[in-house]
């Protein structure tokens, strides 16, 4: 069953994430799209190998197991070893895709990611699946709500957070083509198409501007991009024109786009399915504070773990909805007036 994500307290069709922005309904879980994209790069590039922590059926890395069994290694429930083996394969000229849940990889194998991947600057790709809270009912032990912060501590690693199917496909291609370590967040849920199929312009380190506006900029990544577009539609009805940036690369940050947002719109709201501490917003704020301080507001998880529930219930309870972005944007715009 496809798990779709709803927003806000409004009833019916308007509750659906992306509806207010006019986005079509989601059709396929992001992890399924990852599996297809991984198979595509493995088909085109015989140097691609896939390492699995016994979750290939959940991450969807198993597509490669079926097609190219000799290039697929289930290392078992042993993430530390998994990352080390991948480093050896990378040293032999292969492009290893290290795949598991974000939380298990980062928390069981951070030492190995630090030495064998980041410090060695090897050409490995890391799929952190089930990022954020929208994996839902499996609960907080499985949720990766600290991945931006932890990968942030690995200074050579590029960090990608696609917001829909087209972006996921483009991100998997870009990560595979890039020479060096890359982290890619994937999600269990289906996200509404922000971009046309195969129509996502994706340059690592270059944010995509999805909507023009001069009153405030909404900077979002992952699932919060669609929520930001919904929020922009609501704000437009109130006469606030919001710029929306899809910040699909969290490292390297698109400093130019962030500074332009501060200079040209004078207020910024960030939105992420991640802890606020050490998250995307705090890194954006560092750029803004240095180059052009303007009022900012932050949508993300306060210092808390969440719980087992439906994804849309969690997004509402923990304040990761379009309505939360709208509230934050109003406050940022008001603060701008007081300067």
């Amino acid at each position: 069953m496809i798990q779709t994500v709803a927003i806000a307290q409004t009833p019916g069709e308007a509750r659906r994430l992306g509806a207010r922005a006019g986005l079509p309904p989601a059709t396929k879980p992001l992890r399924d799209v990852f599996g297809e994209a991984l198979l595509e790069v493995a088909t085109h590039n015989p140097r691609v190998v896939v390492l699995d922590g016994d979750l290939g059926n959940s991450t969807k890395a198993e597509t490669v197991r079926h097609a190219f069994p000799e290039r697929f290694f289930n290392i078992g429930i042993a993430e530390s070893n998994l990352v080390g083996v991948a480093a050896g394969l990378a040293a032999c000229g292969f492009i290893p895709w290290i795949t598991s849940f974000s939380s298990f990889l980062l928390c069981n194998a951070y030492d190995q990611l630090r030495l064998a991947v980041a410090m060695s600057n090897i050409n490995a790709k890391i799929l952190g699946s089930h990022g954020g809270i929208t994996l839902g009912k499996d609960g907080p032990t499985q949720m990766g709500i600290e991945d931006f912060a932890l990968v942030g501590g690995l200074p050579t690693v590029v960090m990608l957070v696609p917001c829909d199917a087209a972006a996921m496909k483009a991100a998997v291609r870009a990560a595979t083509d890039y020479v060096g370590p890359v982290w890619l967040r994937s999600s269990r849920v289906a996200l509404p198409p922000v971009y046309p199929a195969d129509g996502c312009p994706f340059t690592i380190g270059k944010a995509n501007c999805l909507r023009q506006g001069d009153d405030v900029t909404l900077i979002a990544c992952g699932i919060m991009v669609a929520a930001a577009l919904d929020a922009a539609a609501v704000l437009a009805d109130e006469g606030i024109e919001a710029r929306v940036l899809d910040l699909h690369t969290l490292r390297p940050l698109d400093v130019e786009a962030i500074v332009a947002a501060a200079v040209e719109t004078g207020a910024i709201v960030t939105a992420e399915e991640h802890l606020l501490t050490g998250g995307m917003g705090s890194n954006v704020a560092r750029i803004v504070a240095q180059h052009r301080p303007v009022p900012m507001r932050f949508v993300g998880l306060a210092d808390t773990y969440t719980e087992s529930a439906e994804p849309d219930e969690l997004l509402r309870k923990y304040h990761l909805t379009a309505d939360d972005i709208v509230t934050a944007a109003r406050a940022a715009v008001r603060a701008k007036g007081k300067r």
């Binding site: 070893n81 083996v85 991948a86 050896g88 040293a91 064998a116």
Partner: protein
């Protein structure tokens, strides 16, 4: 094989390690001394195939210094093997030097893995074996582990996986010098029965006196054959921490500290005997 020539090289490596760590006023000379005959046999006894002027030659045998604190020994061996000029050794741990306190992969030619957080090298070695298999290459991968390092869970994750993947070109060597940072292994966190542990993980187990060069050559040669096709091999090397310098052998607290210039002079004298 001229055993005396190998002993002479082992002595030279110990002298270089002593010089490097004394100059750097830091490092782990005693951990290098327990493994010196092993590393000498590998690089200078014809056990490793390598091309110092083509350090990334795909067909090379790999040596991974998983006990990364023995970096000075690795660096000295690489210098004498021709990977870089020996004068670089005296820059160990100095600013702008590629000779980091613990090895960083590819920062220096011949360094195959970043190590220093113990427990990681065997996994990387297994990755090299699997990569060699995919590339149709028949090289071998030797990984030198500390004995205390065998307390790390990742070592046993790798041991399980290597047996599962029938990685019989993977050879682990345990430098069993019986001491870890804070004291005797048997007192701090016992490893015994160590051979039985490896055996139960599906490995062939060989044991040797890690300072008897003829035994080291014979046992490592046997390990590379391998003794049982389809199984990885571990060589448990019984060694002495600080081997070659009497007052270092007698005091495990030399782990993690260099000798003073005065101590170094005495040590040099003993090593030259």
């Amino acid at each position: 094989m001229d055993i005396n020539r190998l002993y002479a090289m082992a002595r030279q490596l110990r002298l270089d390690v002593l010089e490097m760590t004394t100059l750097a006023r830091s490092g782990h000379p005693s951990s290098c001394f327990s493994a010196t005959e092993i590393v000498t046999a590998l690089y200078f006894g014809g056990l490793l195939r390598y091309r110092p002027h083509d350090p990334r030659w795909p067909g090379r045998d790999r040596f991974i210094m998983s006990k990364g604190h023995a970096a000075p020994l690795l660096y000295a061996a690489l210098a004498h093997a021709g990977y870089f000029d020996r004068s670089l050794l005296w820059t160990l741990r100095q600013i702008d030097s590629p000779l980091q306190g613990h090895p960083i992969q590819a920062l220096l030619p011949g360094v195959e893995a970043t190590t220093g957080s113990l427990g990681q090298g065997l996994s990387v070695g297994l990755g090299h074996v699997l990569g060699g298999r995919l590339n149709g290459l028949d090289y071998r991968v030797f990984v030198l582990l500390g004995d205390g390092e065998c307390q790390a869970g990742q070592v046993w994750e790798a041991a399980m996986a290597a047996a599962h993947f029938r990685a019989d070109r993977l050879i682990a060597i345990v430098d069993y010098n019986k001491f870890q940072e804070t004291g005797p292994i048997a007192r701090e966190m016992a490893l015994e029965p160590l051979a039985a542990k490896w055996e139960s993980f599906g490995w062939s187990v060989l044991e040797m006196d890690g300072h008897d060069m003829a035994a080291v050559m014979a046992t490592l040669t046997e390990s590379a054959r391998p003794p049982r096709p389809g199984r990885p091999t571990v060589v448990i090397a019984h060694t002495v921490k600080g081997k070659g310098v009497s007052f270092v052998e007698a005091d495990y607290t030399f782990h993690g500290r260099a000798l003073t210039p005065e101590q170094a002079a005495r040590a040099r004298e003993e090593l030259m005997r």
